[in-house]
């Protein structure tokens, strides 16, 4: 095509990113105890998520529930034939799901928090309720955590959203929370360690042996328990799967995982959530390696755990 009329969509990254900044500015203009502070922040989060998708391509913001590709055409700057066409972007729930698939560091916990923000925003706008009056403490920390991940994905930092002074305060809050999480998780680890030390040596040997048998590579990522030293399993959520490769006549599929749960069957230590795992020294991403016979890979669509093995070394 040599020449073309312009039909640019309003879903471009800069427009969505600018709106996020404008809403953040509105949030910063009100008192911190004003219900409008979390309200504007929730809208900021929504546009940060949409901007993150649009930073890859505006088509990722398009609603895809229509029976044709009208909204995707619009995102590509084309005009659908439909008369009176009004472009429709994806609803927030779908935006969050897309972010979860697209952004490696955007965890299931973060998606859950984003849905809670979106739900509160809906209740605020569509009902007689005032949910932000009861939002409680801790939301700002979660907002900063998620904002940092969404910003990083689009090549931005908290300072670009909040300005240098507020970004510094936000970073301090995040660092303090990490310290607090570390203290809390270390307290739990120490408590389990003390209980472990008080067990009889034969009991410890028996439990360690049982834990070693239970901690199979095909069930999770095998690590040493920080409380008792036994072998234990780390579970995670998928970040990204690499294309399958053929190695020694076997198809190898490697998947990058973000840890989100730890359980030791010997001392019964459990740690949930990536933040707490990070504080416990178990937060590094790991690779799940699956080896499948070519015949099975191409013949069967059913999942089969056999043949899976987790790497021992964290990346």
């Amino acid at each position: 095509m040599n020449n073309m009329p312009v039909n640019q969509s309003l879903w471009t990254h800069d427009l969505l990113w600018s709106k996020a900044r404008a809403y953040m500015g509105r949030a910063q203009d009100v008192h911190r105890d004003d219900v409008l502070f979390p309200f504007w922040s929730s809208l900021t989060l929504e546009f940060l998520a949409r901007a993150a998708l649009a930073s890859v391509h505006p088509a990722l913001v398009a609603d895809t529930s229509e029976p044709d590709i009208r909204n995707i055409l619009h995102a590509f700057g084309r005009t659908p034939k439909l008369k009176g066409f009004v472009p429709k972007s994806a609803p927030m729930n779908e935006v969050i799901a897309r972010c979860e698939q697209l952004i490696p560091e955007f965890t299931t916990e973060m998606a859950r928090t984003c849905r809670a923000f979106a739900s509160a925003r809906n209740e605020e706008l569509h009902s007689g309720g005032t949910p932000f009056a009861a939002i409680g403490e801790g939301w700002l920390l979660r907002f900063y955590e998620i904002a940092r991940v969404l910003l990083s994905f689009q090549g931005k930092a908290l300072t670009d959203l909040l300005g240098p002074q507020e970004a510094m305060a936000a970073e301090k809050l995040l660092a303090a929370a990490t310290d607090e999480a570390a203290k809390s998780v270390n307290k739990t680890i120490n408590a389990h360690s003390e209980v472990w030390k008080n067990k009889l040596p034969e009991e410890r040997t028996r439990l360690t042996s049982q834990a070693s048998k239970a901690a199979k590579g095909h069930l999770g990522h095998v690590v040493n328990c920080p409380a008792c030293g036994s072998q234990a399993l780390l579970q995670g959520e998928e970040i990204r799967q690499q294309p399958p490769v053929l190695e020694n006549d076997v198809i190898v599929i490697r998947t990058l995982m973000l840890p989100n749960s730890f359980r030791c069957t010997a001392c019964e230590l459990q740690i949930e959530g990536h933040g707490r795992l990070l504080a416990a020294g178990l937060g590094a991403q790991f690779t799940n390696t699956a080896r499948v016979e070519p015949l099975d890979y191409y013949a069967s669509e059913d999942g089969d755990d056999e043949g899976f093995d987790f790497n021992w070394n964290n990346e």
């Binding site: 640019q8 309003l10 670009d160």
Partner: protein, 237 residues
């Protein structure tokens, strides 16, 4: 008649001018030096993809008009025959076009086009960061929107500036407005480039980098007719 693009890029003088465009942000093909051998559309297609709004022709004639005679919602409707402020073109598009091509068809008014390189602002980290933080409202359009004045993308840094349609939309933009306007005035004062028009002359500017404007039209000056084409490197982004 004007030539097409076949083999045109092998023309050493055109190659030099194109290099000038990429290096310095603008190129001027004088009709005295044979620029009329290439027509505006062919040159636009050499540079990228010509684009236009659906209600405006691809090759758009630009004629100075008084406020009363100008089409509604145009720069002429605001400024008439007075001087235009320095601006980038099509700042009301979500993605403004990368290049703007002008060709002079008639010019008896001796009114030049002025251009200035905004790189002293764009390449200054502190100034650029300050400018990038501000949010601007695009108004006087069917679908108003918020945007940045500086956008960093895969094809480089893009500058968007048009005081006729951009107003501050964040407290930072409101606080910075005077300083930004002063910085722009300063570069326009210090290093303006004057393009004197002769029929057939072509001017190509990097619209993500160069500001341009025209001085006021003399009351009894002769006709001044330019044609304009927008060119984008990527029409879909």
């Amino acid at each position: 008649m004007l030539a097409g693009t076949d083999g045109r890029m092998e023309d050493p003088s055109l190659q030099l001018s194109m290099q000038h465009l990429y290096d310095r942000g603008w190129m001027h093909l004088s009709s005295n030096e044979g620029s009329s051998a290439i027509d505006l559309l062919s040159l636009a297609q050499l540079i990228g993809t010509p684009v236009h709004q659906s209600n405006i022709p691809l090759i758009q004639p630009i004629v100075p008009r008084s406020n009363d005679a100008a089409r509604h919602n145009t720069t002429s409707a605001l400024y008439g025959l007075n001087a235009f402020p320095p601006h980038t073109d099509a700042a009301h598009w979500p993605n403004p076009p990368r290049y703007v091509l002008f060709q002079c068809y008639r010019c008896q008014s001796n009114t030049p086009t002025m251009i200035v390189d905004a790189n002293p602002i764009l390449n200054d980290t502190n100034r650029a960061n300050d400018l990038a933080r501000a949010v601007w409202q695009i108004r006087r359009v069917t679908h108003p929107f918020l945007c940045s004045a500086i956008v960093d993308g895969p094809r480089g840094r893009a500058f968007r500036w048009d005081p006729a349609i951009m107003i501050p939309a964040s407290s930072h933009a409101r606080q910075s407005l005077f300083s930004i306007a002063e910085q722009i005035s300063s570069i326009c004062r210090d290093a303006p480039i004057t393009i004197q028009w002769h029929p057939g002359d072509i001017l190509v500017i990097d619209n993500w980098r160069m500001l341009h404007w025209r001085p006021s039209i003399a009351p009894k000056g002769g006709p001044r007719v330019l044609c304009r084409i927008f060119v984008t490197a990527d029409p879909t982004s």
